[in-house]
Structures are given as C-alpha cells and as structure tokens.
Symmetry: C2
Subunit: 755 residues, 2 copies
C-alpha cells in the first residue's frame, strides 16, 4: 500500500500531524534542516584545512626524544602543545597531578641451570633509526608496577598465562607454586598474566614477544621491515587496571598535590611479584633449555625449538628494583567556549606521553588532534562559534595506567558528570579502515560522520570502505548486516586507552576512532616506534592522519553545534538485545560444556584416552549449571525497544516541524545522561570503580571488552547466584535508560508542553 | 507397544513367521548359533598364540638392512617370509614381476643466486641408531618417478602446492611458469604437488619437510626424541597414482616377464619434471633467501625466517638423473585351502618392501601378518579347517607405486573377481586406537571383530576404546553417533596402501586396519625408520603388534568360516545416504561461494579492500552454479535402503531357523559381489582404472578419499554437466547394488525356493 492511501484510511485523530518530511528528517542527526545547512558549510571549510606536511612536522617534533611520564621532553612537549593551542586561539593550560610511576633501578635476569645465560635486556641501536641511540633518555625495557623482588626458581611455560592455561598445566601435573612463569604476549592484556600467575602461587613472571606474533613470522624485521627484531621488547603497564586505572595511591579521586594517598603496599592495583618483559632473543635460550612435557600444539610459537612446559631443572634468577617516587603529570587542556550551551562540554582527547619516542603510539593520533585544533582556530577567525564548549585534552601518563585522563576525570568528576555530553578518543593512527567503537546511542551519529569523509586510498567515503571491508572479512551474519543494515555496527569499548574513565567511571557518551588494518609492525612500546619507522612503514604521506583529523573534527563540531544531541536509541536497543541473546547462549554453552564433561567422566572417556607415556589427569566434575532468570532483562529490553521507537517519532517530528529552544534544551539535559543511566550505583562486582553495566574490560582478559560484564563474567566463572543478581541489576539500568528516553521523547513531542 | 501385542494385531499373512530370536540373531555375523560356538572356540585358541617376543625378533630381522625394491635384502626377506610360511604349514611361493622402478644416479641442488649454497641431500649417521650407517645399501633421498632434468630457474614458494595455492599466487601476480617451485609436505599427497606444478608451467619441484609438521615444533628430534631431525628427508613416490597405480609400463595387466610394455615416455603416470625431496636443513637457506611478498599466514611453517613467495632473484639449479631399468618384484603368497568353499578367497596383505629399513613402515604390520600366519599354522595342527581359502600376501614394491599388489591383482584379475570375497590390509602399526576403514557393507562385521579383542593399555575392548576416543575427539554429531549408534563408523578408503587394486579396481569387499594415535614421530620414509627408533618411540613392547594380529586374524578366520558372508547393508545404505547429503550441501556451498564472490566483485569489495602497498588482484567472476538433478540418486538410495531392510529380515530368519546349505551357497555367490556392483563399467572420469563409484583417492588430493568421486570431483571442479551425468552413473550402481541385495535376500528367505 502506498503512503497516500494509507493516510486516507487512518482516522486523523489517532495520528499527529506529520508532514511528508518526517519520513526524511533532514540530513544531519541532531540538526534542523536550517541548522544542518550552516553546519555543513562550516564542516566543508574545516575539512579543507588539515595539512599532511604539518602533521608530519608535528610528529617529527613530538617524537624527537623520549617523552615518558616524568621525562624532560614529556614536559617540553606538553608546554609546546599548550603554546600551539594558545597560538590557534584556544584557551589553553596545563593541569598537573602527582602520581606513582615506578621506573627501574636494577634489572637482572639470568639462567642459573642447566647452563648459564644472562639476558641482554637491551634494544640495539640501529644506524637506520636516528633516535634509537638516545640511550640516556630511554626507559629501559621493563613493565610498570611490577614489584621489587629477588627470586630464584624453576621456570614454567604458561602459554598466554590466562586461567584456562593453568587448567591445562594442572591436567599435566604441573604447578607454578614457587616457580617463575614465562608467558608469551597475546591472548590477553599483559597485566592479566602476572596477576593470574600470582594467584596460582608463582613468585615471578616473564613476558616475551614470540616471533610468531609480531616478529619474523609476520614479515621482515626492523630495519629491513616493520616487524619486531630479535632484541625488541614490549614495555607496558601491568597494573591491575581492570580493577581500577589511574594513580594506584588515589583511587577515585584526583591525584592533586594534597590528595590523601595510600601507602604503596596498600595499593590494590600494584603487582605483588616481580615481572619483566623479554625480547625473543632473550627468551629463546631459556625456552630452549626447558624440560618437561611438550607444550600443546596451540601453545607453540615460531622459535626454532621444541616448546616444553618446564618445571624441571631449568632455574632462573630474577632481580628487579624500582624508584617508587611520585612523578608529575602534565595534562594539556584547551577550550573553545560554547555560544549557546557553554555548560555542555564536547570533549576530545589523545595522550601525549609515550614509552619511548612513540611516533605511532600516541603521536600519530595526537598530531591529528593538534591539526583539528588548528583548523578550528582558523574557523574561529572566520566567525565560527560552536553552540557547546569544546574541550581538547592531551593526556599525560596514559601508558603506565591511563593516569592523566583518569586523574583529570576524577578531579573534575562532578563537573564532568554535569557538563560532559560526549568524549571522543583517539590513540595513534595508521593506514586502512576506520575503526569505530563506543556508546551505541551514538552509532547512527558516527556512521553519518564517517559517510562525510573521503578515504585517501580509494576515494570512497571512509564509511563505504569500512562497509566493504565488513563484507570482505565478516561472518555470514556480519556480511548480511553490512549489506542491509543502514548503519555499520560500532564496537563496544573495553579498555586500553583514555576513554575508560569518561565512559566507564563517569558515564559520558563516548566514541573512539582510528584508521588501521594495512600497516603491520612489531615496534609497539619499543625504541623502534620512531619517526623513522613511521615514515617508512605506516602512513608516511600522512593522508590518513588528515582523514583522522577530518573524521574526528567533523564529529566534534557536529556534536558541539547540534540543536539536539545526536543520540539514537534504536541501534542501542538492537545491540543490547543482541547482548542478551549472547548471554543466553553463553549460559547454554557453559551448561552444555559442564554436562558434557561430567558425562565423559562418567563414561570413562578420560581414562580410556590417556596415553600412558603422557599422563593427563581428567578434569574435575562440576556442579550442573542452573537455569537463569532472564525475564527481568527481557522485560527491560522490551521497554527499551519501545522507548527507542517513541523517541524516533518524537525526534523526527521535532526536527521537521521545529520544536522550541526550550524543548531542545530540555531534551539535551536528558540525552547527555544516556550513559549515566547505564551506570550501576555499586559498579561491577569486585571492582566498584567500573560503573558502566554494558561495557567493561574483562577482569581476566584485560583490554578486551566484556559487554554486560556483570552478568557475563558471572556466567563465565560459574557464579550462578551472582549472575541472577546481576541480571536484575542490568535490567534496572535498562529500565532507567528506557525511562530517560521516554522523558526525552516527551520533551520533544511537538505540541505538548515541556514536562 | 510391546512386541507381543503388536504380533497379535498384525494379520499373520502379511508377515513371514518370525521367531523371537530374529530380534537377537545370535552373536556372530554370518554364523548360525551352532557354527558361532565352534568359531568362537577356535578364535579363543588363536588369540592366545601371538607372542610379542616373536614380533620383535621378526621386526629386528626384517629391518636389519635396507630392503627396497630390487635390493638384495628385499629378496632375502621375501625368501625368508616364504620359508616361514612353509614352516608354519602353509602353501607358500614367490611370484615375480618386472617393473619400472627408477633409482637415482645423480642428484644436485644448488642455489645460484643471490648466494651460493649446495644442498647436502644426505641423512646423518647417528651413533644411537646402529642401522643408520648402512650407506652402501640405502637409497639416497629422492622421489620415485621424477623425470630426469637439468634446470636452473627462479624459486617460488607454493605452500602445499594444491590448486587453491596457485589461485592465491595468481592474485598476487606470481606465476610459476618457467620456475622451480618449493612446496612443503602436507595438505595433499606428495605426488599432487609436482603434478599441479607441472600443469601450471613449472620446470622443477622441491618438496621439503617443514619442522612445524613433523620436526622440532612437534617435539624433540631424533635421536633425542621421535621427530624429524634437520637433515631427515621424506622419500616417496610421486607417480600419478590417482590416475593408475602399479607399473607405469603395464597399465591394467600384470607386469609379467613377457607383458607388452609402454615406452617410458608414453607412461602417463611418470612425472614430466624433475622433483626432489628436501630436509628442512637443506630447505632453510633457500627459503631464507627468497624475496617477494610475505606468504599468507596459513602458508607459514616454523622455520625461524619470514616465509616469502619468491619469484625474485633467488635462483636454483636442479640436476637429476635416474637408472630407468626394470627391477624384479618378489611377492610372497601363502595359502590355506578352504574346506567347504575352496574357490572363495579371503585375502590379507601387508607389504614387505621399505624405502630404507622400514621398521615401522611396513614391518610393524608385516610382523603381525606373519604372526597371524604362525598362529593359524598352529591351529591347522590342532585340526582347524577354514571353510574358505585363506590367501596371505606379503607385497613387494608398495612404496614406489603399490607395485606388488597391483601387478598381482592385475595378473589374476579374472580369478580374483571370481573368487575374492574379502581383502584385509594393514601397513604398519603403532600404539593407541584401532583405525578401521573399508567397505561399509562390512562395517557391522568389523565392529563385531573389534569388540572381541582387548586393548593392551586400558584392558577395555579395542572397540570400546575407539568408541570413547570418538566421544572425546569427535564433533557433536560424531559424539552422538558414537554414543547411540550400535556400530562405530568406519572410514572410507582413499589410497596409499595395497587395498587400492583390490577395492577400487577389482571391487573385492575390503577392510584396512591399524593401531595409532599415540606414537608421534618424524621418521617416515627416512633412514631413521629403524628398529632402534621403533624400540624407543613406538610399540616397543609389541603388545599392539599382538593386538593387531588378534584383530586381523580374528577377522580373517571369521570371514573364512562364516556360513554366509558377513555383509550387512543397513550401514551401507545409511552411509551412502550421508554421502548424498554431503554432495547436495557441497553443491550449495560451491554455488553460494560463486554467488558471493560474484556479488563482491559487483560491489567493488576487492578493489576497496586492497592495500596499495600489497597489490592483490580480484578473483575472476564465475558462471553461477546450476541446480543439479539428484532425483536418480534419491530414488536409488531409497531402493538401497529398502533392500537392506529386506536383507536383514531374510538374514535373521535364515540364521535363526536354518537355511539350507544351497541357500547359503547361493547367497555367498551374490554377497561377494557387493562391491563389484558398485564399480562403473567405464570407471571414473579421466581415470578408467579406478572403477569404484563410492571410494577413490582424490585426483587433486591424493591419498585422501573422495566418496562418490565421480560426482564430488565434478562439483568441486565446477564441471556441472559431468556432475549430472555422474549422478546417473552412481545411481545406476546403487540400483545394481539394491538388486543384488534383493537377490541375496531372496536366496536366504526361509521356506522359499532358491531363485
């Protein structure tokens, strides 16, 4: 039936007057048609400004010397960034915090038996890389927040060092109690490895980069290619950030000069055992000397050795000590005050600190941010005035523990909860496809932004290229969605960058973006993450740096000047429904797995299939999984779905027929709370700092996201009572969200008074 | 409903009289209860006879020196085996054939650029392995039926060297025309690699053993462990056996002294380019020197290098020449004449030739065969007389091309088609699980045999252990079948051992058996497949050798003395139905894949997702797949299924109430044709020697089986017209089979005259 006839058949009283354009409410989410036209003009001007040559020069300058937390060049960079912002016409300042950031005093790793070997623990200077020789300023290879320690113990290979790996060791009769474990990078965030090792009784932990993952197996090694050379080691943080990030001594509050501080020994997130990262050059002699059973097939890397589990006579001595003094953070904050809603803040950030020179991580993202700021400065001169206040942060101390962002967010928590309407993060950049993650109420908005920026390599929109990539690489379901769904799915955010305090602690609607997928490499957190490397193996013409500035700048400008904040809840509702489906499947899968294992134990499968030359214990029988009550969640998602539909109608009507400024203002006041409704008053089990009930890093996976984490992790870890409780908690959050959406709908509903 | 009430409700005229015992027709397939008791007594006596110490001594003796085709010790072994059989009371003789078996005269492989390197092509003598130093008698590392050649050309890495690998190379703009390819072992039978390379224009082919597959990645290398050391190389045949096996000069006929012979240049199965196998010690310098694109992830082995595709300046020189003279085969044939059906032959074989010393391959299987023969000799002295004639073959020349078995089968083809009722093959043995493959009309029979032999490690029956292994390692469907189906599935036979001429050329019902799954190792076809290796790393106490003799001997005795041949067709029908389902799925999968690729080409997916730094051509659009007419096959499987049901009733009734000897004889005359009905008069497309329409080695995979090969390969290779034709051909065979089964049913139907 055609719309015309349908309208004739429906009694007009039952339908509000809806002009034809409601079906096509204009072309910019959050804008009336009139506003959209103005916005598009400014965006077009904006997109023409960023220059690859300037991105390149800024990268060269910022990565010219090591600039980790507490380094002279880190401070110099912060001051330079502040001065640049000021010169562009921004209000800019540096905000300081005092944080615990341990740096190495002593590092020793030696094999004691069966033969002697002392690890080099040093990355070679390369004549092809002019910054690789800045030894005096470089942090040596280490991981931050390891304990001091001096231990000598047998070595056990634990694969990725996640809990399931210890189950496998246990079936082979191998315990790590009193041992030093050696884990390989990958399979989880690095901080999970020593935490799990410690929980199993290990007294030390080594983490090495296997060449299978980012060394010669992947391609030629630096300087002949982009991949990790044999003495390249991955620095990093091993703080227990899935419990809380930021300064370990000031959880939940800003680490200002006078903040009340815990003693280091009382800080829950500092590791309890010594931990050291290794290159594969240093790891190979240790692994080659190991005895014990051959490692399972999936545990083997690509060193030319037989990977074995150890617990024999291979003994190593690990001695580490650190300088535990406080260091100063320099967060650079720039602002452009909003003309209409000065107390609504659109925030954008990228960190400026690095482990060493950090040309890719983080400078390739930071220079895009700086170039956006310059471009907006140009627009200001031309008369552009964003409706909302724009806040640009260049965070210090992301690498050790999201320090700069977390302390700033905690120091300003009440103000940010009040004023923050969006946080948009980047953290490095490369060539390829636009990655988009964040709050699903912003999925539609971000898709629209991505449709308006050109991909440098294909001249398609970056959205179109991402769509075709999803078709090329996705599962059958992904392909279908990419082809038929109007919006591409954006990913959910776990952790690993500065969005965490904004999204998961404060509940500010958040996005994260970056290009990638074409540049491989193995220089992550090494001295080889340098300008020389980036110019040879990544976005060397800086066209993707410009594209990133265009995407993010467009998003910031658009969010800052929208008449009504650009949330859309149909995609959120659909996504949440998907999560609920996954949780139900997960319970079934866990239940089936338990039942199958128990059945096999009864049948005698394990004793019948063991090779007497390779003893393997049967797994332990487990309690069968109970049925969970998902009804509260099903009811809540139903509410959410209906509220989202109502909002879309109200929004369309308001945009088309013109709601009043007061209606928009009222809606904005509500919409900015879209993620705050999803926070739990008590946060997540075992980690109250994390309050978001839809998105969190995994407690036992690290950066990787767990969606609906309270329920999901309870099911994964067979805490069934907690799972049922967390279903109720998450359902209540969804009910709050539905209620907020209904109130925002009411605010926009045309012809009705503002409630 | 209980059976009693059911019987009362059904008009008796519609049902034959079926006594209660029909539902439990006795405990040995093919035997009346009375015969079963006698048979079980003899089997019990038989199983007590084989002795591990004798198996060990026979292995030591037979593997004491290299014994390949044409070697003095090979002839000596044949004479010793014949004399052993004679001493056991068998009629034993040696049958000779004259076959083409090329041996190396000259082998040279050197890298010409970018640097010089000459391959060692030699396996190191180990003091731990006393037969490794028999250099004068060892065949050097080579592959049989390579062409002579002297070529210098650029090197290209082709992964496994199967057709799909060349598609990947083509997308990267790499051609092998005029090149020498280097492929790794695995992914297909070795002979496929040079064949496909030649079809793509390569002028030479190297095949190396990557340590990922059977070297240090899998475990410690010999002599410290069972796996392949760095200079261990895999000899083998590269004759085009999927076209026809046996002597290349006498296809289809026995290679007797006076047989008419082709010229070597006209032999279709001799390779057209020079081919050489390499150790990973010899391969590494070549692979490390290669340039060009990095190999796709799944192509990479575990050498400590970056695997690259080549086609750059890496040039090698390969020079090979062979002695193309005829050599003599010595097949050992032993017989025990049958008492009742002397013209029904139950045949059993294992080869005796090896590439070098061959303790595992084939001697570990041959000694079981010999010990069975000794045990049967003991029984003969105690008065045992099998109803049918038992024929034991120890084949020569299996390694080069199934020479001994094929020439014997071809020389006696008419007699074998007439007399052969079963062929049971083994080819080496290890510790672990009983592997069972063969004609599915014998699935029930072989399951019963396996239930009557004890597993040495678990003291369960070998059947039970195999069942629990299927539960442990199988897919969900496999688990379910293993738990609920009365019989374990037996595998279908491809090729790679001496069963091929009997099953796939002559249509004799065939089984193949062996224990394995616990012993790993990398000594296959090397000088390290020795008594020393076997004693350390395999069935060193020979308890699995004894179990193999018990399984196979029991099977042979049982088939030889059954009142009616132990076929059962319900499992065959179910299996064939499964194949038809797979073929339908395969067509859908191929059709979907073509449609998806074509769609992605239209959408521009390939051009949008290519990294300009790593050019990758889009695949070519293909014609959409037509719908195939499976109706003839569906009708035929329906016939087969109903015939199988009828046979089970007739069989049960005959066993329970006693059919006449004439009825049994008539049924036997038909049942022995169970696989001959499944032969196609014209054989398979492109390879008429292979006549079986259910089982064949893959034309482009080698040993691996293709079930319903005519249809399956046509679909895989998108020859749609041929697929429709082959459906008709296969359906006709199934109709013939159904007809045979109906006739056998009629023969057994009690109270009816023999038709």
């Amino acid at each position: 039936m055609l719309p015309l006839f349908r309208a004739l058949l429906v009694p007009s009283l039952l339908l509000p007057f809806v002009p034809q354009t409601v079906l096509d409410p204009g072309d910019l989410r959050g804008f009336t048609s009139a506003s959209a036209k103005i916005e598009r003009d400014w965006e077009a001007k904006f997109k023409a400004i960023p220059e690859p040559a300037r991105l390149r020069e800024a990268m060269r300058r910022l990565s010219a010397r090591p600039h980790h937390v507490g380094s002279p060049y880190g401070k110099a960079n912060a001051e330079w960034l502040r001065d640049q912002l000021t010169s562009y016409g921004w209000q800019a300042s540096i905000e300081e915090f005092q944080v615990l950031f341990p740096t190495p005093k002593e590092r020793l790793l030696e094999m004691v038996s069966p033969s002697k070997f002392t690890a080099k623990l040093d990355e070679q200077v390369l004549k092809e890389d002019p910054t690789s020789n800045q030894k005096a300023e470089q942090l040596p290879t280490y991981v931050a927040y390891s304990a001091d320690g001096d231990v000598t113990a047998p070595l056990v290979y634990v694969n990725y060092g996640v809990p399931a790996d210890y189950d496998e060791l246990d079936r082979r009769g191998i315990s790590v109690k009193g041992a030093i474990v050696i884990a390989r990078y990958g399979g989880s965030w690095r901080g999970i490895k020593p935490k799990v090792a410690y929980e199993h009784g290990a007294v030390g932990c080594l983490i090495y980069s296997d060449p299978k993952d980012d060394g010669y197996s992947q391609g030629l090694t630096y300087p002949n290619g982009p991949w990790r050379p044999s003495d390249g080691a991955q620095r990093g943080s091993i703080m227990d950030m899935p419990t809380y990030p930021g300064d370990p001594l000031t959880p939940g509050v800003g680490a200002t000069k006078d903040a009340k501080r815990l003693a280091v020994k009382d800080a829950a997130t500092v590791m309890k055992i010594p931990v050291l990262p290794l290159s594969y050059g240093d790891a190979q002699p240790l692994l080659a000397a190991m005895t014990g059973p051959v490692a399972p097939e999936s545990w083997r890397g690509s060193l030319p050795i037989t990977y074995r589990l150890g617990a024999g006579k291979t003994t190593v001595h690990l001695k580490l000590s650190f300088d535990w003094s406080l260091k100063t953070l320099y967060d650079v904050i720039g602002k452009i005050p909003g003309s209409t809603y000065p107390d609504e803040w659109v925030i954008r950030g990228n960190h400026h600190d690095a482990w060493v020179n950090g040309a890719e991580d983080p400078i390739s993202g930071a220079v895009a941010e700086l170039e956006e700021a310059r471009a907006m400065g140009e627009l200001l001169k031309q008369g552009w005035r964003p409706k909302r206040t724009i806040v640009y942060g260049f965070w210090d101390g992301e690498e050790p523990a999201l320090l700069g962002s977390t302390e700033w967010a905690e120091a300003h928590d009440a103000e940010l909860r009040q004023k923050g309407v969006l946080y948009l993060n980047t953290d490095g950049n490369g060539r390829g496809y636009l990655g988009m993650e964040g709050s699903h109420s912003l999925e539609r908005f971000f898709n629209e932004v991505a449709k308006d920026v050109e991909d440098p390599e294909t001249k398609l929109s970056v959205w179109k290229r991402a769509q075709l990539h999803a078709i090329a690489d996705g599962s059958a379901a992904d392909k279908k969605d990419a082809r038929t769904r109007g919006d591409l799915h954006i990913g959910a955010l776990g952790s690993g960058s500065d969005f965490t305090p904004f999204l998961q602690h404060l509940g500010i609607p958040t996005l994260n973006a970056g290009f990638g997928g074409e540049d491989g490499g193995g220089i992550y957190h090494s001295i080889y993450d340098s300008f020389a490397w980036y110019m040879k193996y990544s976005d060397s013409s800086f066209v993707y740096g410009r594209a990133l500035a265009q995407v993010v700048g467009t998003g910031i400008m658009r969010a800052a000047s929208a008449d009504v904040l650009p949330m859309e809840f149909g995609n959120l509702s659909e996504t949440v429904n998907g999560y609920v489906g996954e949780l139900k499947e997960l319970r079934t899968k866990v239940a089936d797995k338990i039942a199958e294992t128990n059945k096999q134990i009864d049948e005698g499968v394990f004793s019948a299939t063991v090779d007497p030359r390779e003893p393997l214990k049967a797994p332990k029988a487990e309690e069968p999984a109970p049925v969970l009550n998902f009804a509260p969640m099903d009811n809540a998602t139903d509410q959410l779905s209906r509220a989202a539909q109502r909002y879309e109608k109200a929004y369309a009507s308001a945009m088309a027929s013109g709601a009043s400024a007061a209606q928009f203002a009222k809606a904005n006041d509500l919409l900015k709370l879209a993620d705050q409704m999803l926070l739990g008053p008590n946060g997540l089990p075992l980690r109250p700092w994390y309050k978001h009930l839809l998105y969190a890093p995994g407690l036992y996976t690290g950066y990787g996201v767990k969606t609906m984490p309270g329920v999901r992790e309870a099911v994964e870890q067979r805490r069934w009572k907690e799972a049922d409780e967390q279903i109720v908690v998450a359902a209540a959050a969804l009910e709050r969200e539905a209620d907020l959406i209904r109130r925002a709908s009411a605010a926009l509903e045309v012809g009705k008074p503002v409630p």
